[in-house]
């Protein structure tokens, strides 16, 4: 039986329905948007100021 959750967004004050998908779990470990991730890491590496606490 699929797990289904309802969440209310604080931003939109609307409810959304979230259904767990076993097939998506099989994608676990996959690197998504590798080019964009590489660009993100590049920027983060150059960061001169630390992320605020």
């Amino acid at each position: 039986m699929k797990k289904v959750f309802k969440f209310k967004s604080e931003l939109f004050n609307k409810e959304s329905t979230w259904t767990h998908d076993e097939n998506l779990e099989k994608l676990n470990g996959k690197v998504w948007a590798p080019k964009k991730l590489a660009e993100a890491n590049k920027l983060l590496r150059k960061l001169k100021t630390p992320l605020p606490k």
Binding site: L11, K14, A33, K36, A40
Partner: protein
Amino acid sequence: MKYEMYSEYSFTNDLGVVDFISIGKNGAIPKRITFTTTELENVYNLAFGDVDENGTLNDYRISDNGDRNKILATVFNVVDIYTKKFPERWIFFSGSTKERTRLYRIAVGINLDELSQIFDIYAFVQEELKLFAKNMEINAFVIKRKVY
């Protein structure tokens, strides 16, 4: 915020992958939002795009489905839910092109007052991190849920 959004999602347990369907003038288009670890602890890269036939994420395709604002609102809704579950995580995001980064900058700028109530919003300006302000020229955003 008073925007339409998609409200039916499929997800993985860690919320690393969230799928929804865009419905518009070109039909039903599967969309995917992903959160991936970066080299910096507690910083996650947000990627978003169409799901290709082979199941990969295509963040360059322009689907032109006539629902751009609804999709942007949906992405923010997912970030809202994600950061409720993981309030300690920073979310890094930028567009896959300069035009898309500009679009995100405008969208965040228009809604900055409401977004700032929930998130601390910083922007990469060149290689420096600055508190985001409207019309700032930026490379990317990094945001975190405010903890009260």
